[in-house]
Amino acid sequence: MALGSSPQTSIRPVERLPDAAAGDGRAAAAAAPALTVDARGLSLTFQTRDGEVQALANIDLQISDGDFVSLIGPSGCGKTTLLRIIADLERPTAGTILVNGVSPEQARLRRQYGYIFQAPALYPWRTIERNVMLPLEIMGYDARERRARMERYLKLVNLSGFERKFPWQLSGGMQQRASIARALSFDPALLLMDEPFGALDEIVRDHLNEQLLRLWDQTGKTVVFVTHSIPEAVFLSTKIVVMSPRPGRIIDVISSAFPRDRTLEIRETPEFLKIAQRVRAGLRSGHSYDE
């Protein structure tokens, strides 16, 4: 495999499942749906004290509208870096990237995505409701709109009734759900999630995975999800991007077509295991399991 290039250099957009909302004229566009993220030849090289580090080398990736894409790989494979470039939190040193057809900076200024970190990052001095309303305050929504949106999204993540609580009064899983509500509050079409459930135990994580899937199904957003858990990636995604380190590159892109209303039980099915094996094979070939 050529270093730094993914096996499918031009990825055919996944065919959209015909759904009710795609009735009008959009059916004609179904053959070439909008690309939410279009990265070509993307590279990022860091200067550190010990020399140059190539965090990303020649990344080609296309993510379509409505996809749930997982980036999976060991530490140092560049998955978080790639997410941060999409979010305009880092600038690439080579290559091009378009988010919703414009530069990442433009997408950020137009508030087109919501970012969720590994830690809930809620403000300890604000109640849950005021935490969820924080981005709305910054973006200039009026008070009534803020309240309406806050209530709607807290309901969506099953935290109604906890509005007046402070973050320390909630468990880790609940805090993370609150931060998801916060990211959704201004209706971005794109959600960027950086190992959001990494700090939680497996039982809570399973529960939140189900909830996230339902949310994705209901809202039709595009999700880019960074994880280092193979079952989580295979369970959640329509497309799994396997990455490996030194330099950060894409080893494999796997499409998966589980039904949108799947439950945790599919994790024991043969199809699931086959995809998981393919992911693992990709990680091995990228020397992710070596010292």
């Binding site: 950020r108 809930p120 809620l122 403000y123 109640t127 981005p135 910054i138 320390w168 009064q169 468990s171």
Partner: protein
């Protein structure tokens, strides 16, 4: 910034208020006993000489009693200090120069005015330093440097120069207090304003928040704990500054002047009373700031 630990209120039985404070009371009681012992031991030779000079016979109890009441003791007994303190505060009208309350008020007013000015300046400078890179690189190192050098030594110059220009009384002392307490506030606030996690700042960036929004919604609230910690430190420094400011020119009023006159005229007990007054002022000021700090923390959702 938020702990992701399971944070449900703990249902542990709490020990009583008294039980928690017991070691402190015992230690204080032991120290009081030691104090009395010291008074007896240190004043004994003084009292013995006094009896010898007056050619009176004295018993052991007379000696002990004498050490508790000596006019110019080496170590005044605790009750002596207490009596003198209450006398100096309550026996004179509050505006009389013989009243300890008057002197305490003079020092207290200089302390509070200086503290207010210094704290406001310190906060303002910290905000500027955090937002202007040039100031951060050119001025902040000097502010940090000032922590290593005895800047209190400049107090006499300020008093004298301002006096020569005709400014006396409260203002020069406040200037010194302000000057001394502005450094810890600046440093503390710079630490506080830059304390938010990088992920918090990243999050603000993803929402394209303006610098003013980041300041009002993130930096300022994060800096509140640092603010109160540094205010407590700086109010004590402000008090020291006000007292020291009264020394070089032999001021007529204030706790520093009481210390000076006490030492010139050998009035030991007066010195101790003045120190008690200073201790009370310090405790009250810190207690006030602490109370406001705790109230603010509770309103800002701190874990109870």
């Amino acid at each position: 910034m938020t702990s992701s630990a399971l944070a449900l209120p703990q249902a542990m039985p709490r020990s009583g208020w008294l039980a928690e404070r017991m070691p402190l009371f015992v230690v204080v009681a032991i120290l009081l006993v030691l104090w009395y012992l010291a008074a007896v031991l240190m004043n004994a030779s003084l009292v013995r000489d006094g009896f010898r000079r007056a050619d009176t016979k004295y018993s052991f109890t007379d000696l002990i009693a004498g050490t508790m009441e000596a006019a110019r003791p080496v170590v005044p007994a605790p009750h002596q200090v207490a009596i003198n303190f209450f006398d100096s505060v309550f026996d004179y009208p509050p505006d009389s120069p013989r009243s300890l309350a008057y002197h305490s008020w003079v020092t207290l007013s200089a302390t509070v005015v200086g503290f207010a000015i210094g704290a406001l300046f310190g906060i303002g400078l910290a905000v500027l330093i955090v937002h202007l890179r040039t100031l951060e690189k050119s001025l902040l190192p000097w502010v940090i440097f000032s922590q290593m050098v005895p800047i209190l030594a400049i107090a006499p110059i300020i008093i004298v120069v301002l006096g020569a220009v005709g400014i006396h009384g409260l203002l020069p002392k406040s200037v010194i207090s302000a000057y001394l307490c502005f450094f810890p506030v600046t440093i503390g606030m710079v630490k506080g304003l830059t304390s938010p996690d990088p992920i918090q700042l990243d999050l603000m960036r993803t929402w394209s928040a303006s610098r003013l929004q980041v300041f009002c919604k993130l930096r300022w609230p994060s800096s509140i704990p640092f603010l109160f910690a540094s205010l407590k430190v700086s109010v004590t420094i402000s008090l020291v500054g006000a007292i020291v400011a009264e020394l070089p020119t032999g001021a007529q009023a204030g706790i520093g002047s009481r210390l000076l006159t006490g030492s010139y005229y050998g009035q030991t007990v007066q010195i101790w009373s003045a120190l008690v007054a200073a201790a009370i002022i310090a405790t009250v000021l810190i207690g006030l700031i602490d109370a406001v700090g705790r109230l603010t923390a509770r309103r800002m959702g701190a874990a109870a």
